[in-house]
Symmetry: C2
Subunit: 232 residues, 2 copies
Amino acid sequence: MTTVRGARERARIEITAAIKDEARRQLAEDGAAKLSLRAVARELGMVSSALYRYFPSRDDLLTALIIDAYDSVGAAAETAHADARVLGAPPRDRWLAVCIAVRAWALAHPHEYALIYGSPVPGYTAPEDTVVPASRVGNTLVAVVREAHAARRLVLPPLPAVLRREADRMTGEFAAGLPPEVTATLVACWAQLVGLISFEVFGQFNRVVEAREEFFVHSAAQLAHQVGIIAV
Amino acid sequence: MTTVRGARERARIEITAAIKDEARRQLAEDGAAKLSLRAVARELGMVSSALYRYFPSRDDLLTALIIDAYDSVGAAAETAHADARVLGAPPRDRWLAVCIAVRAWALAHPHEYALIYGSPVPGYTAPEDTVVPASRVGNTLVAVVREAHAARRLVLPPLPAVLRREADRMTGEFAAGLPPEVTATLVACWAQLVGLISFEVFGQFNRVVEAREEFFVHSAAQLAHQVGIIAV
DNA sequence: GCCAAAGCAAGAGCAGTGCTCTCGTTTTAG
DNA sequence: CTAAAACGAGAGCACTGCTCTTGCTTTGGC
């Protein structure tokens, strides 16, 4: 927490939060495309130009929402992992718990999910501020696999020679403590997990998959197996 | 081909195509969010209201582009499959060929890819006209697996009891001739494949995966294995 | 406590958007 | 040949993101 120096700074914090809240409300209702700065300002009883004191542009507001969304889904994954750990769940169940938590968050916040894992809306390059929150879910999966390795519940999948250097680099950069053999596989599984969730959230499973929950749990279990986490 | 009854109908066909071409150009340049009906009309030397004779709304134009994009990537997948088949490639290589073709198409047309596999832009419900083109890639994967089964190059993965009915239904609906044991797995692999491609196209692999090509081919091969296609 | 400086809300205004409606003109079909 | 349908052009509405100017309020250094 930063110290609040005066009434003005306190007001700024509150108004910034109010803007984001209202924007999130409109986002959840109509989607990112229809999010309007003027509508947000109108709903908050202020004039649109005043809003630019807090967010220099519409894209900056969206970026703030993106960061919050990353933090929100990241927190969901982390608490699911922590809960599974205090229950003494085996690695496979911890993996499943995280996957299920991410899916549940996505289904509960489809538009925020679309904001972070759908097509990038503002431009093409993600602002620097997003990379740390963006990696929270990934880091949680790394933690699960790391614990599985420590508990000797991990078999190392074979890794082709061409990916050996890549796996070493990845491991050093964001998966320290993980056997390099699994790092590349884990990244792939993470992308595949998001693919599964995206298909469900974005309606690609309409008329295709009906038993969504069972289908997802089974697929997530397959991913656990693929990354080397042994059953039970 | 429908018969062209007169000059007016011929003109309508040409103008409709010109509108879509120009719209696709602007889409490839600036993305779906910045696609403007007025800009398209301006570039074509017509007034914006005239464009509404051809597409009743911006969303309808986008829907037309979505259908074309589905057809485009579907055709890419089908030709890749056909080429691999005439070369006598084994099932695993046919699977890889289709995956690689879809990825190549996505990297070449990122905004069109975002249109179909990113967040749904217009509303939430996909128009009925999109479901047939949308299934072309999936059908190609079904065909690959079906051929693998016919060539006895397919091992049936175990399927949990909860998904048995679901797998039977899926098979009857869009995967006739496929052993029900693989249908559900195939659908999951299809979603996971799109997850891999989306992460790359949407920049989620920035600072994470560097050897993209090798990483993708290895992951796609893993998916082939997962769906039951045996190596070589 | 005073006062310049900075932060702030409000309003007007600009360029752009999707979309509608009207009005002549042209092409089609009976 | 004529009524009907399709068409292009233009004006106009309501909305958007964003900028600039104008006063007012809070802040921080003296």
